[in-house]
């Protein structure tokens, strides 16, 4: 790669910000917002969501992600809407930004995930992705009343779910709807395919009988298909996952961050000697077509320095180990330094997923002070209206995987 390669910007847009203390330091806490009779004013309601996504699209961001959890996380805001519904809600009001909700593979039924993300792809005209949820979901076992894979089992489960999703997204050939009036056939059933997928796992299948099975046992699952949704504009929506979570050939965009021994704090000056190039190379070597750096940002404002703000945020709610915030590289400082860092990252990674600590503050500074100089330097691509997310990322539209008549 050369330094002229464009740097894709992605932004995580959950709630009031990516730092778990975001809802505690700026404005009223989420749980005290006045939503009951006015969802428009609620912090987790549609108005904030639409504003934030519109601002990101206006800034030329390639895609946004929506963090999620079936049950409230141990730290961070207790209230949020289902991520797929949020992504779908902004699909018809946007035209060029990718929409990538987090769905946890061990929590949501694989068949439902496939149908939901495929539907998002149709509703957005090809701008859907799937951000693969990772880690243990606290309380999932009790909430779902079935065993939920954890640890190594979760890794295997995630790979199985990604495989069955790819198969389901391919289960309708692109031209399956034939509308052949001569024969009266709406679809050509030769162009629809069962997937007949059986996962690994050794525990009992998920049923009330598995109620007494301890957490962590991996219950096998099977899916026959085909999907109930026709193939979407992208063929397969873009799969975004933390590097190492999925086999490289199942990922379109790998997200990298510091290892346990790495210093998460990066600057343009120290980037060359840092772990970033190595992490990116590892992800590419594993097969990921695009590699983005997860970068958590706390920026200077007129009222406080970034470090003061970071201390206040950490004091309000300490980020949990293993959370997206804790697993990301870090920029804490002025906007100009972030701009320099991003320019230096060209050629090292294909892009950066920014995790703005407080959305109203840090995303606003990024849009106002960071993106314009990147544009002047022609460092970031400009997604075209009507382009699919694959188009914008320069990824090919995959051929379907089934032989005709199979």
């Amino acid at each position: 790669m050369t330094t002229s390669a464009p740097l894709h910007l992605a932004v995580e847009l959950d709630g009031r910000g990516a730092h778990p203390g975001a809802h505690l330091v700026d404005g009223p806490p989420l749980t005290r917002a006045a939503w009951p009779d006015d969802a428009e004013s609620g912090d987790v309601g549609p108005a904030r969501l639409r504003r934030a996504v519109a601002a990101a699209q206006e800034a030329g961001v390639t895609f946004v992600t929506f963090d999620d959890s079936l049950t409230p996380p141990t730290t961070g805001p207790g209230l949020r809407l289902d991520a797929v519904t949020r992504a779908a809600h902004v699909a018809p009001t946007t035209s060029r930004i990718g929409l990538v909700p987090l769905v946890h593979p061990a929590v949501t039924e694989p068949f439902h995930v496939a149908a939901q993300i495929a539907s998002l792809d149709h509703a957005s005209r090809g701008r859907a992705g799937w951000l693969v949820g990772t880690g243990d979901v606290p309380g999932a076992r009790a909430a779902l009343d079935r065993p939920v894979a954890v640890g190594d089992d979760l890794r295997a489960e995630t790979a199985d779910v990604a495989r069955v999703l790819a198969a389901l997204w391919d289960s309708w050939e692109d031209d399956a709807v034939v509308r052949d009036t001569a024969t009266g056939r709406y679809v050509d059933r030769e162009r629809l395919h069962r997937v007949d997928f059986v996962s690994g796992g050794t525990g009992p299948t998920a049923s009330p009988a598995s109620r007494d099975v301890p957490d962590g046992v991996r219950a096998p699952f099977s899916v026959v298909g085909p999907l109930i949704v026709p193939r979407g504009p992208q063929g397969r929506p873009v799969v975004v996952a933390r590097a190492g979570v999925l086999p490289g050939d199942q990922v379109d965009v790998a997200l990298v961050g510091p290892g346990a021994a790495d210093d998460p704090h990066l600057t343009a000056a120290t980037l060359g000697a840092s772990w970033v190039a190595r992490a990116a190379q590892d992800a590419r070597a594993a097969g990921a077509p695009r590699v983005l750096l997860d970068l958590a940002v706390v920026l200077d404002t007129a009222d406080a320095t970034a470090w003061e703000r970071a201390d206040e945020l950490d004091g309000a709610a300490a980020p949990a180990p293993g959370s997206a915030w804790s697993s990301s590289a870090r920029w804490t400082g002025p906007a100009a330094g972030l701009t320099e860092l991003l320019l230096a990252l060209r050629g090292v990674v294909d892009g950066v997923r920014l995790l703005p600590a407080v959305q109203d503050v840090d995303l606003a500074v990024v849009v106002r002070d960071v993106v314009p100089p990147l544009r002047v330097a022609r460092a970031v691509p400009t997604p075209r209206p009507g382009a699919t997310l694959r188009d914008t990322l320069g990824l090919e539209r995959p051929a379907h995987q089934f032989a005709r008549g199979a």
Binding site: L70, L81, D82, P92, G139
Partner: protein, 450 residues
């Protein structure tokens, strides 16, 4: 107008919904006016047209496995539709008032996940969401899911009631300041401990729709539903009988008799004159029952693939090879005595000299209302004033344009008769339907130790 025995509800308004089916041979795909069944613009057009017509609700169906007949994917009808809650969340952004109804299966959804997604749609839409509760016990559908075929037939409605109760408990799992609290639910088929994450919507809870027609289904509706979506949308006497039965069951369930709104599914064919309308209705039916569809419906009765027969030729001379008519999901007459139906059809065809297709067209009942905008408006107003229903859930025979004449020509006629709203009075689906606010279920259940 004084109340009379004919019109016990002289001031009743007609409530309209539109059902975007996405399956069944009633949706014509062969006509040039038939658009994509999956492009978002098709859904946007139908939903926005319905909203322009001040409809209460836009309604999406769901089927969690593609239909098959005789072990093969059914290929004659429209097929392939979006996930309902995902699609309605998108439509919520391009509509402002119309209700958004998602059909969702209780057997193959995790209650916490389902309740959360419905509540999310409710908040995103400003209180316009509804859930059409459907059940299934068949392992055939379950083959796409983790809990394949786990539910005993007799537990079907137990499961439905428990999932509904668990969802309501989760929707109520917020303290007075709106902070989530832990919810516990323990039933025979649902057991969970979970803390919700979605704030209360403008209407409190999503509205509950239900479409079962069996006695158990009607009892379920009477006990739990707020709207019942029936099949009784063609014959007034039949609809009156159904409405009386639902009201009886609703009272027996300890609720006011008008607590469950009745919206039969129906079809409307409009034209300038009665003759033209009849001609148009005949054309619609012929488009719906294509030669291939006629052979398929006959093949379903005979229990074998008859697609090689001539649709303009006679019915098979032999009796069906199966005792009971199999179920091709969504086609009529499952479970009936195949030989008896076949013999009756043969007798009718011989008497009238009908070919296969003519016989099937003859057997397909003319559904719904056929006439001029004025005559159909009179009929619809008469239905709701008689108490036969609270309105209708219309299934357009073609999308996206199939609702246009209803909105442009029929709605103004209803408004002239004082039988239809002239603007949305409220903002939520609950308000459109005239439903009560949801009763907090916290007390009744072992939940929420806040």
């Amino acid at each position: 107008m004084p109340a009379s025995t004919d019109h016990p509800r002289p001031h009743a308004h007609v409530h309209l919904g539109v059902f975007f089916q996405g399956v069944n041979h009633t949706t014509i795909w062969s006509d040039p006016a038939s658009g994509s069944q999956i492009d978002f613009e098709t859904f946007r057009h139908v939903a926005q047209t319905a909203e322009r017509g001040l409809f209460d609700a836009f309604f999406l169906g769901e089927g969690l496995r593609l239909r098959e007949q005789n072990g093969l994917l059914h290929d004659l009808d429209v097929v392939g539709r979006p996930d309902a809650i995902t699609q309605l969340s998108a439509l919520a952004a391009v509509t402002r008032r119309i209700g958004l109804v998602a059909t969702q299966n209780v057997t193959y959804n995790d209650p916490v996940d389902l309740a959360r997604r419905l509540a999310s749609l409710d908040v995103l839409s400003g209180g316009r969401a509804a859930w059409n509760v459907v059940t299934t016990d068949n392992a055939w559908t379950g083959a796409n899911f983790r809990r394949a075929g786990w539910l005993d037939h007799e537990l079907r409605y137990v499961r439905a009631a428990e999932v509904v109760q668990a969802a309501q408990a989760l929707w109520d799992g917020l303290d007075d300041e709106g902070a989530p609290v832990e919810v516990r639910y323990a039933g025979r088929t649902v057991e969970l401990v979970a803390t919700p994450t979605v704030p209360r919507s403008a209407q409190g809870h999503p509205v509950l729709f239900q479409a079962g027609d069996s006695p158990a289904g009607r009892d379920f509706a009477a006990a739990h539903a707020e709207v019942i979506f029936s099949r009784h949308g063609t014959h007034l006497a039949d609809a009156l009988e159904f409405a009386a039965d639902v009201r009886r069951r609703t009272v027996a369930a300890g609720r006011p008799e008008d607590d469950v709104k009745i919206l039969p599914g129906t079809q409307i064919v409009l034209a300038d004159t009665p003759d033209e309308a009849r001609e148009k209705a005949r054309w619609v039916k012929e488009q719906q029952v294509t030669p291939a569809t006629a052979l398929s419906l006959v093949g379903q009765v005979w229990g074998e693939d008859l697609s090689h027969l001539d649709p303009d030729g006679p019915l098979p001379a032999h009796d069906p090879v199966v005792a009971a008519i199999g179920e091709t999901r969504g086609t009529p007459r499952p479970g009936r005595d195949a030989v008896a139906v076949a013999r009756a059809w043969r007798a009718r065809a011989e008497e009238k000299g009908f070919s296969i297709r003519q016989l099937v067209l003859d057997q397909e009942e003319q559904r719904g209302f056929v006439g001029t905008p004025a005559s159909v408006a009179d009929e619809l107003a008469h239905w709701v004033r008689s108490g036969a229903s609270d309105g209708f859930n219309l299934t357009p025979w073609v999308v996206p344009g199939g609702l246009d004449d209803v909105v442009d020509r029929l709605v103004p006629e209803l408004q002239e008769r004082g039988a239809y709203r002239t603007e949305y009075e409220g903002t939520t689906l609950r308000e459109h339907l005239g439903l009560r606010a949801p009763v907090p279920h916290r007390r009744a259940l072992a939940t929420a130790e806040a």
